[in-house]
């Protein structure tokens, strides 16, 4: 009995995403036939009620904000883990880890609301309206920070079991151990962790919707408002009918394909570290 149920759940892991993609294909079929796939990928104008359904600006917006969030969160999380694992006394480390685990459980909408009422007005003073690519990246960076920390921490704890004593016997400083031994040896694993969090940034909806301004245009500066593929769906799906609705499924399909590729890459990279 337990085995049967386990098998069912194991199959769900792969059947569910497959069904989602099939469903997305089916629902976006109408839009693809109507407008052609080229228009979605290369046209930057999104006015579905006037027959303009270009998603190029949203694709660029999504990638820009996710990439920028990684750029902000990776250095900070790496230095956080280094300090926490090697420099701080164990008692503080305990509370730090507790804090990070709690932090990772905060729902995204809380980050979004905080961003909207605290961060956006701060940027609005010098760069109105304040809702922008940069604020989106800051909020996302904060959201993926705990995920990055947990990922890197996991890698370093496994790594420690094998190499900590040999490093200690060579009298390596924690700095050399971390930056000259751990990071080069785990570069693939780390990239995998980064990619997964990049995917999370890409898929985040509510927080981004609240702070990026949602104007569908190619980002030309850090302070220009952007719309992501996800907020596009969240803003308009409830109100859309016909080709408009189908076009929104198209943005979902593009997102799903990108996420699938990222996950594949992450799994592929994670597979073969520590082979020396």
């Amino acid at each position: 009995m337990f085995k049967t149920i386990s098998y069912i759940f194991a199959l769900i892991g792969f059947i569910l995403p497959l069904l989602i993609i099939i469903y997305l294909f089916r629902e976006s079929h109408e839009a693809i036939n109507h407008f052609g796939i080229k228009k979605f990928l290369f046209d930057p104008s999104w006015y579905p009620n006037e027959g303009l359904v270009g998603l190029a600006a949203q694709i660029n917006g999504s990638i820009a904000v996710a990439f920028l969030s990684i750029l902000l969160a990776v250095p900070s999380s790496v230095s956080f883990v280094y300090t926490n694992e090697f420099l701080l006394p164990k008692k503080i480390t305990f509370f730090n880890n507790l804090g990070i685990d709690t932090f990772s459980g905060i729902p995204s909408v809380i980050f979004g609301l905080w961003g909207l009422v605290k961060v956006v007005p701060y940027f609005a003073v010098n760069h109105p309206p304040g809702t922008s690519l940069l604020v989106g990246a800051i909020i996302l960076g904060m959201m993926i920070f705990p995920g990055l920390v947990v990922g890197i921490r996991g890698l370093i704890q496994t790594f420690n079991q094998h190499y900590q004593f040999s490093s200690a016997s060579l009298n390596l400083s924690s700095y050399s151990y971390f930056f000259k031994v751990f990071i080069p040896a785990n570069i693939k694993g780390l990239t995998g962790v980064f990619l997964l969090q990049f995917g999370r940034s890409l898929g985040e909806t509510m927080a981004v919707l609240m702070v990026t301004g949602n104007v569908s245009q190619n980002p030309d500066s850090l302070f220009s408002p952007i719309r992501t593929l996800t907020s596009n769906i969240a803003l308009e799906m409830a109100y859309a009918t016909g080709a408009h609705r189908s076009s929104l499924f198209m943005s979902g399909l593009i997102l799903a394909c990108v996420l699938l590729l990222l996950s594949l890459l992450a799994i592929f990279l994670r597979r073969d570290d520590h082979e020396y």
Partner: protein, 264 residues
Amino acid sequence: MKFFLLISLLFSQFSFAQEQTITLTGSSTIAPLAMEIGKRFEKLHPGIKVDVQTGGSSRGIKDAREGTADIGMVSRSLNPDEQDLKFFTMAKDGVSVILHKDNSVKVLSTDQVIKIYKGEIKNWKEVGGRDAPITVVNKAEGRSTLELFLHFFKLKNSEIKASVVIGDNAQGIKTVAGNPNAIGYVSIGTAEAAIVEKNPIKLISMNGIEATTASVKNSTFPISRVLNLVTKTQPKGSIKEFIEFSVSNKINDLIIEQFFVPIH
């Protein structure tokens, strides 16, 4: 097999728990009112449950037509291609341009609003305000507030140069309240409620007529709309009772509570 028995038990619980459910979907403007009406209706008619879901007027039309919902909520008059549906007017509502309370601009002409939204006027000093860039707040496509706004100002959405695009009314009020240089538009009822809740916003008169629930009631305010319930066929039974209750003056206090305008 206990597992499957448990599952089927769960499902049976869901399907027999209520004797009858009236489902309403549609406009997020009407939903809060419909929920209040629903609560009162449930008290008067034990055994009937009223389920209200939002999703916009377009969804209200779609769900009523497809039978996904018993009643659709539509916050505009029906389009020519929607005349197959039966509609019942519950109340009226107006859409007003809103500014931050600290903005020194008191009046805007129709033409100025159009120019601001088209990006031809970019600074408040061009319309008599302080020297500051204008933040244009627009709504996402598909919302009836946007439709009403575009229709009144004879604009196309692609002509609008927005700085921020928002979803629902509450987000619009938060955005304008948080930015002294913003201009936006929301339903007058929602805006008046927000002012009562001490949000720093103000309503702008249009064509010399003040944006108040009173001017919407006597149909003088130009940007106004009707709040409708729609059904696919002539309603029967408890659905008929619910609609008759909703368009009667027995719920005027609820309409006023929601800052809409009663028609009776």
